[in-house]
Symmetry: C2
Subunit: 400 residues, 2 copies
């Protein structure tokens, strides 16, 4: 039997809650949790080279997106380069998501929508890892960006409109080629507006894809030695579905779990709680796509170990930075004209490189001048802010 | 008498030529020459923080542009921040140009052109440091971007079309506010298409502005202690004018000299030679805006000490990098589809950080994905390439 490449140990629990501090062991090093996972969508954390992460941010792990890397440069290119770590010159633990979220959300984002088939309605002649002829025909006829069937999803590229197909097996194969330490089973990420019947149907399909993802992973002996596989809990806003999903996936042979789907602020806590009460304690839990400071606080208390979110770098590129307040956090936009002559630190309470060496006025100048360094420095601050905010939550658990 | 803040010593001469290795001493440290001066137009070397310069490029000096900083964020903002070094978090020797080149070239670049007055034709009632009413009226009537008179230049901002005026005194005052180690006397940079009569007229005016720049500098005791002033040799393609200009400026109390104007490849060598035969040997000479490898070789042989050029970062942003060839240098564009699967180093012969850690395929991916890191890594390589190419020329002189 192969020693699992990704394992988890709980170091300390927060008494009376689901929260814990732990360590995820991966082939590229340990991740001390709770931890914020920096997002490098296309194999680059926007504007940062790896030394910037190590010296100025201090993140322990980075996440790249399967969908984006599949389309550009192509998983085959990354494989030929020797995998994501070599290709991107990254030497830290890495995660790739399944591609599911982008397939569905970019479809929705482009205002076209998703065509769904109920179980049994699909074309039985579907072939693995090939374009599903029926889906393709539908997509062409209807101009849909994303067509789902039992087997997988046919979608058009947001870059050039070319047609592609992901199945559970194909997603795992692509993630094997990319070679991150932690890979994620292919899942369907539903719209929050979908009705409960569809949420359940999609969840059941995600569970069947989860099983097939495990099988596909176990068939690749080389990958099995160096990549851990997470399953993704779905179920939308419905706590009973969330519980069903957690129970179903907990019984499968995953190295960890993602909690996926879109949440409203009110639903988030309860949904996490019922899921983490069920998921096995000795496996790490990643809250997918959530990363606002107060959400992380709640996620940690409710037993999540890792978090990822594009917000820190995305808002940085528009001149927006995090700033501490007496009772929490706020965002300020440096393009506001009042900062043109503000020679105070970007965030007075922050000890990051940017706040120690630059003023709001300089950052404002960079943004007004459309200088790339503005986005870079704001990204360094925002990432440091959220990464170290999460580190402090760990320290608090250890000291409690 | 104040000890000059910027001094020069010749360390070794290339026998039989005008070339030499030397050291420029400045308040922010020494510049070992020949040296390439990295350009940070708006108080930022595009995409690089100072640590990137120090760790990955190794440049000893950076140049910012008076015209750009005057328009955004404003010299007053930089002064209030404590000067350019504090504002930009730069701790190395710095230069600001006079603003003359941008005033004239941005005017020309915008396809409008420059209105010239012959000596004596100007409005005698001109007031220093104020918009010249006559010029302003003309500019408004004719929509010119740049109107020259004896006193100075009235021009419209390339950002918002607002009207401004530089005189010799105003340029020096702005450069005092910015606070670079080396500042440059206000000069008129003529179009290469101007006839000889106009070249001479403009040169004479530049000489009068040079005198007034020195006077303006000497009136600021604080600045005089910490900023050195260079005069700019003009004269276009005409060797006799170049000689006149060099002789005239050599007699003035400058700490060093710039050689300005636009050159054609064929004219460059001769123009430099006749100038440097005249300029005093104990003062540093900066060849303004020239920085292609083979031009630097020629400039060094003919007695220039420092060089600046925006090309390394400008071409980097479009995916173009320098590469050594058996007999020289070439540029390659990483957007070319043949590099998508090229896992060789960006430049096989280069020992920079980028060439040691990344492949052409990764850089190509970054450029195809419009990722900022592409421009950053290409800039690091190009700047390292040209900075260290120039350093090797120094080493060769010292070893000869």
């Amino acid at each position: 039997m192969i020693k699992p490449p990704v394992t988890f140990e709980v170091v300390k629990r927060i008494s009376g809650t689901l929260g814990r501090a732990g360590i995820i062991h991966t082939p590229h090093g340990d991740i001390e949790t709770p931890a914020f996972v920096v997002v490098g969508t296309k194999g680059t954390v926007k504007s940062l080279k790896p030394e910037d992460m190590a010296e100025y941010v201090g993140n322990q792990v980075a996440l790249a997106n399967t969908y984006h890397l599949f389309l550009q440069p192509g998983a085959d290119v990354i494989k030929e380069a020797g995998g994501l770590h070599k290709f991107s010159n990254w030497d830290l633990p890495t995660i790739t998501d399944s591609g599911g979220f982008q397939v569905f959300s970019l479809g929705a984002a482009f205002g076209k929508g998703v065509t769904k088939f109920a179980k049994g309605e699909t074309d039985d002649k579907t072939e693995k890892s090939e374009l599903n002829v029926y889906s393709k025909k539908l997509a062409e006829e209807h101009g849909k960006l994303c067509v789902i069937d039992e087997e997988g999803v046919t979608f058009t590229s947001h870059i050039d409109g070319s047609m592609h197909r992901f199945t559970a097996e194909r997603s795992i194969e692509i993630q094997h080629d990319i070679g991150a330490d932690i890979i994620i089973a292919f899942d369907e990420c539903t719209s929050p507006t979908a009705d409960k019947a569809y949420q359940e149907e999609a969840m059941d399909r995600t569970h069947r894809w989860a099983k097939r993802s495990i099988l596909a992973h176990k068939q690749n002996f080389e990958a099995l030695k160096k990549q851990g596989l997470y399953g993704v809990v779905q179920g939308g806003r419905h706590l009973d579905l969330r519980q069903t999903s957690a129970r179903t996936l907990a019984d499968m042979d995953f190295d960890g779990f993602g909690i996926g789907g879109s949440f409203s602020k009110e639903d988030l806590g309860e949904a996490i709680q019922v899921v983490n009460e069920i998921l096995p304690e000795d496996k790490p839990r990643h809250l997918l796509g959530i990363g606002e400071p107060m959400d992380i606080v709640e996620g940690v208390r409710l037993g999540c170990d890792t978090f990822d979110c594009v917000a820190p770098t995305r808002i940085a590129r528009t001149g927006t930075i995090y700033e501490r307040t007496n009772d929490g956090h706020k965002r300020i936009n440096l393009m506001n004209s009042k900062y043109r002559r503000d020679f105070s630190k970007p965030d007075e309470s922050c000890d990051c490189y940017v706040c120690q060496n630059y003023t709001k006025a300089y950052l404002a100048h960079l943004f007004h001048s459309r200088e790339m360094l503005g986005a870079h420095l704001a990204s360094l601050h925002n990432l440091y802010y959220i990464v170290n905010f999460t580190k402090r939550l760990r320290e608090e658990i250890l000291l409690a």
